[in-house]
């Protein structure tokens, strides 16, 4: 399992690096699709079918919106000029990345190895879900009964995003 997910993650990293260096904006958007659809396969391997359904539909809708925006405007990428400012920026970036990587290695020493997770917080949710909520799907029971406030907050965020897009893209009518 660890080997399979590592190989798929390798493909995702190569796709991501290509997406950032592509000369054509449409190729960059298509390469972002590699990362999204590779994530769907990872979710299916990790026994999370709810997430796979949501991720595949949301990724398709995101790609449609981005392709519509790119095709309506320019498709070319600006030329990267490697002047002194850009090289200094990259060196500073890599130093920060090395520091972040060191702290990450320190932090994951306390994690259990992959697959040996002990249910500390979800013990009550898994054992008492079918009697307390009555739903056979544990993820729906957790989302809509035990953690219903998070679902309400998420619905409000989606509503606010739709409201924001409607406000941003408004053309003043002509009298």
């Amino acid at each position: 399992m660890e080997l399979t997910i590592s190989i798929i993650l390798g493909f995702m990293i190569i796709g991501a690096i290509y997406a950032l260096h592509a000369k054509d904006l449409l190729s960059a958007v298509m390469a972002m699709g590699i990362v999204g659809y590779g994530l769907v396969i990872c979710f299916l391997l990790l026994k999370a079918p709810d997430l796979a359904i949501v991720q595949i539909v949301v990724e398709t809708i995101t790609l449609v919106i981005m392709v519509a925006v790119v095709l309506d405007s320019t498709r070319e990428e600006l030329a990267i000029t490697l002047d002194r400012r850009a090289i200094l920026q990259m060196i500073a970036g890599f130093i920060v990345f090395a520091g972040l990587f060191y702290f990450f290695i320190l932090a994951i020493e306390h994690l259990d190895p992959l697959g040996a997770h002990t249910l500390r917080m979800s013990e009550t949710y898994v054992n008492g879900a079918v009697e307390l909520t009555g739903s056979v799907n544990l993820v729906t029971g957790v989302l809509f009964d035990f953690r219903a406030y998070d679902t309400l907050g998420e619905a409000v965020i989606l509503y606010t995003a739709a409201l924001g897009v409607l406000t941003l893209l408004r053309i003043k009518g002509k009298k």
Partner: protein
Amino acid sequence: MTVYILCFVLFLVGLYGLITRRNLIKIAISLSIMEFSIFLMLVLIGYIDNGLMPIVDPGLSAQVYVDPLPQAMVLTAIVIGLATTAMLMAIAIRLYRKYKTFDIREMKNLRG
């Protein structure tokens, strides 16, 4: 442990794109890549070997299920990621109509 380190490398690739790219569409792509790496890491933490999908079969006795709590959190987060990317695209197309370019260094003139 290599899987966690590879997840973090994907996050760092997204962060590198966020810092060094000048095109607004590439900045939006980098944000999306960072979000995907975090989703994968959260679901990886909750995985149990030989655990079943979190759908209970009412006939069988107690089995070992994969942790459903990180999956519920990531389900909410995926839809929020869509909302964020859609708003960023709306801002991008509005800026293109005004400045005729996607370059963030040309957009510094705060005209009235």
